[in-house]
Each structure stands twice: as structure tokens, then as C-alpha cells.
Amino acid sequence: MPPSSDQRLISTSLPSDTQLRVIFAVVVMLVVALAVTAPYAGRPTQGTEIFLPAYAAAVFVIEMTTAALLFATFRVQRSVPLLVLASGYLLSAVLAVPWALSFPGVFSVLAWDQNLQATAWIAAIRRIGFAVAVVGFALSDPRRTVRSPGRWVLACVGGLLAGAAAVLWFVVTATQSLPAFMADARSTAPAWAYVPPLALLLYAVGIAVLLTRRRSTLDIWMSVALLSLFVEILLISYMGAAVRLSIGWWSGRFFGLVAAGTILLVLLAETTGSYARLAQAAVNERRARRDRMTAMEALSASIAHEINQPLASMVTNANAGLRWLSRAEPQIGEAEAALKRIVDDGHRADKIVSGIRTMFLKGAQERVAVDLKCVINEALGRSASERALAAVEVETVYPPEIKMVICNPIQLLQVVSNLIDNAVDAMKAGGGRVRRLTISIEDGEPGEVEASFADTGPGVSPDIADRIFLPFVSTKPDGMGMGLMFCRSVIEAHGGRLWIAANAPTGAVFRFSLPASTVVEASNQVGVHP
């Protein structure tokens, strides 16, 4: 089950019905194209070289844009497969330029088309390189992430450009000594016969892996892209009898282009849509937080008033008692009555305080065994948009076995949400370059489970660290100082502890322990759905 927090990204979400319909339409179009062009595929055309620059330009723009989108997604998600796929697109886009420039009879002015083999070699490297990248995308583990995605993007782009330049240099200077791919400007030599099957094989592997895994919408779109390339090669190399500029050759390229364009449009629409949804969610989240804050303010004002009444009464009674005693004829009876009223006031104040306590811990008796991991994931899901805006990366370190704790799930969820919100706020305010929240679950004392929330924010200075759990103590400029007090009282009411430590090299770690459940249940039996 993917974490609900990331379900909006194309690289992690499952396709919607509309997307499936578009995918189906593209596939049908490709098959129809294959069937319609098959009879005429082998016919050569005259003077169509003039369309080649336009085609190459379209391919370049489409593949470059797709690569940029994928690199951008990778920068957020940091997942290795995306980087591989983006590199494949970039390579393909970059090589489309020399391919067109060196195509025989297109840019004769440049006189780059003297080398008959160069174009074919570029085409072969481009096709095989892209196919390898897609297979790499399909086979690599999406959970593998990298630390600094920006540097990886730079390295990949730089490496690919350098690699492409090296390939060009090699192709232009050394092809004479390599096996010849072209017999003349239009027909291929026998050595070319190995290239299309290899590409087809790689595409087939890619499609098979992607369709069996079907992890995300992107997987399905990529299998459609591979299918279109598959059809393209079929048309170009087999039905078009491997003759350049034949009807099959052109139609293969045309339908491949349409398929690639469609996929790009879907990617763009998807990206814009998710951005809008994310922004909306962030607005909602902020509103919800503000409402929570207002409710807390109102609550604390009313608590203050409630406590103040008996307090004022006590002070007035004590003053009255003193005055009755200091009269010329001390009135013992009146003073005694005043003292009794002070006792009553004290009891009344106590009642108010314990009333507040039970109000905070309402339903605290309803304790169940809960999978701590589920509670944390639920809380992470709720703060997803806030974290995305603050560019905070979350790392979860969970033990392989399920850790059950005895608690009230709603209250525990509130505590975990509070701790996550605090960490995100601290890192946002700190403005540090690395914003990582590491949440781990581990064994604590015997019979206890511990959870820790380590951020890379500015940390909590020692002089405030021991007061931070007191009411109205806050390090936030607009903070009420109620959150951590609430967290600690909830955890302690559950028989656990909540404390703070320093994170290395910077930041704070909030850690709590809860009694472990001896009953091991299936984790999905207890959901957190307040």
C-alpha cells in the first residue's frame, strides 16, 4: 500500500478511468495505424527529406519537455527510476539533433552528410540507449532514493551531454572502421539487421515488466510509449522494408510522434492538476490549523476565566478575614466564615482543574491495541501538503515486526500530528538547507515501545528545553504553548513518557514511550479513523 501522502503524484498514483480511456485510445490508434499502412509500407517516397527537420524539431521539443518534467519530479521525489527515465529522454532528445543534421540530403549545405554511416549509428545508439533507460526504469526499485537530487540532476545532464559529444566524435571519426549500417543513402546494410530486433527485445522486456508491476500511472503511460516505439520500429524496419523515407518509415515516425505528444500532454495536464490540488490542499490545511489555533485560544481564555473566579474569591475572602480581625473589636466569627469560604474556593478551583483534565482526556478509558506505525502514517498523510510546501523530507525507520501499543488512537494521533507539525514549523523557521524529519519506532524499556521524531531544525536551547512542556511556553512567535503540554499530559495519562533531546549535528529529537501490547493482532484490524 503506498502511503496516502503521495497519492497525487503521477509517478506514484494509480491511473483514473479517464486516463485508462485515453491510454486505450492511443493503443487502438497505433494498431489501426499499423493495419492501415501495412499494405503500402514498402513504397518509397520522393522529396520528403524536406519534412525531416520539422519532424526532428518536434521530437526534440517533446522529448526535452518530457525529460524536464521527469527531472523536476525526481527532484521532489528523489526516486532513482525517475532519474534513469529522465536521462533516457534527455539522451534521445539530444541525439535527435545530430541525427537530423547528418541525414543524407537534408542539410546538404552543411556537408555533414558525407559520412553515410554516421546517421545510422546515431539512430542505433539513440534507440538502444532509450530502450536501455526504460528497462532500467522498469527494473530499478522506486523506493531507492538519493540524498541531494539537485546534484544528481546536474551530474546526469552534464554526463549525458559529454557522453553524447563523445559518441558524436566517435561516430564521425571512427565509423569507417566499424561495420557499415547503410548500403546507400536509403537502404540498410546487412549489419543493421541486428539493431531493430535488439531494440524490439528491450521494448518487449520493458513493456512486460511495467505491465506486470503496474505500480503507477507513469508505468502504464511508459508501457504505451514503448508500445508506440515498438510499432514504430515494426513499421520502419520491417513493413517499410528498412528503406528510408518509405511510406512505412514515415508513418511509423508520425504515429510514434503522435503517441509521444499525447503522453506529454497527459503528463503536463497531470502535473498542473496535481499542483492545483496541492495548493488547494495546503490552503485547506492552513485554514484547519488556524481554526484549531482559534479554538485553543478560546479554550484557554475560558479556562483562565474559570480558574480566576475562585482565585479572586479567595483573595477577597482572605482580605476580608484580615480586616475583620484587625478591627478594634476583632470579629472572630466573621474571620472564621471567611476562612471556610477560602477552603471552599480552593476545592472549587481543584474541581475546575480536574474537570479540564478529564475534558482533555475525554474517552481516555477507551484503550485499544494499535499499530504505532499506522498512527504515524495516518498523521503523515494529514500533514502531507504542509510538508510539501515546506520542502520537508520524511524518513521512516520502522522495525520489520508490528509494534502494538495500548492507547486511545485519537489522542495518540493528535500527539503524533502535533510533534510532526512542530518539527515542520521548526525546520521552516530555521531555514536550513537540509530539512529532514526522521521518524523511527524501536524497542524501549522492557514492555515499552518508543517512537522518536528527529528534525534538522535549529533545535531547542537548553535553557528552554526543561520548560517547553509547561503551558504557555513556546518558541514560536505566534505559539500558544499548549501543544507540548497537551502531548505530555496525554502520553503520561497512557503510562508513558515524553522527553526531548538534541539531534546531531543540529535539531531536536522528541521521543515518547508507550506501554507495548502483549496481544499481537493484525495491523489492519485497528484503524485510526476519528
Partner: protein
């Protein structure tokens, strides 16, 4: 008409009410407590200098609103506000509307007693003023219409002769009227007479 001051306490919290009553009684005030503004209005008010100790937050209405209502009715004793959660705008509004003091609970007892004392003194002065005014008014009522005409003209600074001319009387008659007026209004000098007519706000020389 008594002169022993009374302190009214209006607070919806019984504990606060009792403690305030005890504190005020310990320094010798007669205290009457009420749980709501309505109870206070329904009760008969003693004819004595008084002060009202009022919680800003009353059941069903705000103390400030009640202050305005009392002001409309007139005859309100001065008000000392006490509040559990006073803010500056609220205290400014209360003081502008004539409150004696605005105290935040828990308050120093001396602050409250000082404020109550000041309120009572203020009420006493107001009552004295009002009763003096009432006396003068009563004396003026005893003047005959002709005497009122003469009094107005004399107070405006005319000589007896001029008054006589104005009213078509003999100077002797005016002198008799004038003596009557001075006697009835208990004015010993012309200055006294002018001061009295001034306070009564009589439109002099109009008729």
C-alpha cells in the same frame, strides 16, 4: 432621607458575591448583593448615598450595556467595575461612560475600598446638589407671577425705577415686590439673587 451609605454588589458568582459582601461589611458598609441586573432593578433602592460594584460579565448581558441603561434611567449610583478578563478598550469604554474605577480580579482590597469610597462620596455630592436644587426650585414656586417678572428684570441688572417703567408700576410697588422676592428666595444680597436665578436657568427678561 438617610445618610448611611449603601454598597450594591451585582455578580453572578455567589462565592464572589459573599466574599465582597464580607469585605465591604468588615469596614462598616451596609451591603446588598444581587445575582443579576434584573434583581437589582426589581429591588427598591435605599434613599442613601450608594455605590454599585458591578461585574462586567453578567448573565445575559454585558455590564457596560447595563451601565448605559442605568444612565438613561438617571439616578444611577456611581459604578465600580470588576472583571475577570479586563482589556484596555473595555475599561476605556467604562471609564468614559462615567465609571469610578475598573478593577481586574483578583484585585487589591484597598483599591476596591478606595474606589467604593470615592463612588459614595461622588454620589453624596450629587445628591446634595440635587436636593439643594430642589429646595431652590421649591422656593421659586412660591413667587407670584408678578414677583417672577420683577425678579427676572432685577436679576438682569435693571434699577427699580427702570423695572417700574418696564412693568408700568410705581417704584414703591417694585420695592415691596423686591423685598418679598428676597425673603421668599432666602437671598440676602442682589448677588445671591442673581446666583439663584442663574442656577434655575430662568430665561430672564423674556416675559
Amino acid at each position: 432621607m438617610s445618610d448611611d451609605p449603601v454598597v450594591y454588589v451585582i455578580d453572578d458568582d455567589p462565592a464572589i458575591r459573599v466574599s465582597l459582601e464580607s469585605l465591604l461589611a468588615s469596614v462598616g458598609y451596609a451591603v446588598r448583593t444581587f445575582g443579576s441586573a434584573e434583581d437589582f432593578l426589581a429591588a427598591e433602592q435605599a434613599d442613601a448615598p450608594a455605590c454599585l460594584v458591578l461585574d462586567v460579565r453578567l448573565k445575559g448581558r454585558s455590564g457596560l450595556e447595563f451601565q448605559r441603561e442605568l444612565a438613561r434611567r438617571g439616578q444611577s449610583p456611581p459604578i465600580v467595575f470588576v472583571t475577570g478578563h479586563g482589556d484596555v478598550p473595555m475599561s476605556v469604554a467604562a471609564m468614559k461612560a462615567g465609571a469610578v474605577e475598573f478593577l481586574t480580579k483578583p484585585f487589591r482590597d484597598q483599591d476596591l475600598l478606595d474606589a467604593v469610597h470615592e463612588g459614595i462620596e461622588r454620589h453624596r455630592r450629587e445628591r446634595d446638589e440635587a436636593s439643594a436644587m430642589g429646595q431652590i426650585q421649591g422656593r421659586y414656586e412660591t413667587l407670584s407671577p408678578r414677583e417672577r417678572q420683577v425678579a427676572a428684570l432685577v436679576a438682569s441688572g435693571l434699577m427699580n425705577k427702570q423695572v417700574a417703567d418696564r412693568l408700568g408700576l410705581s417704584e414703591v410697588t417694585v420695592k415691596v415686590h423686591r423685598a418679598q422676592i428676597m425673603h421668599k428666595l432666602q437671598a440676602r444680597t442682589l448677588a445671591d439673587l442673581i446666583r439663584i436665578t442663574d442656577r434655575l436657568g430662568i430665561a430672564l427678561g423674556q416675559d
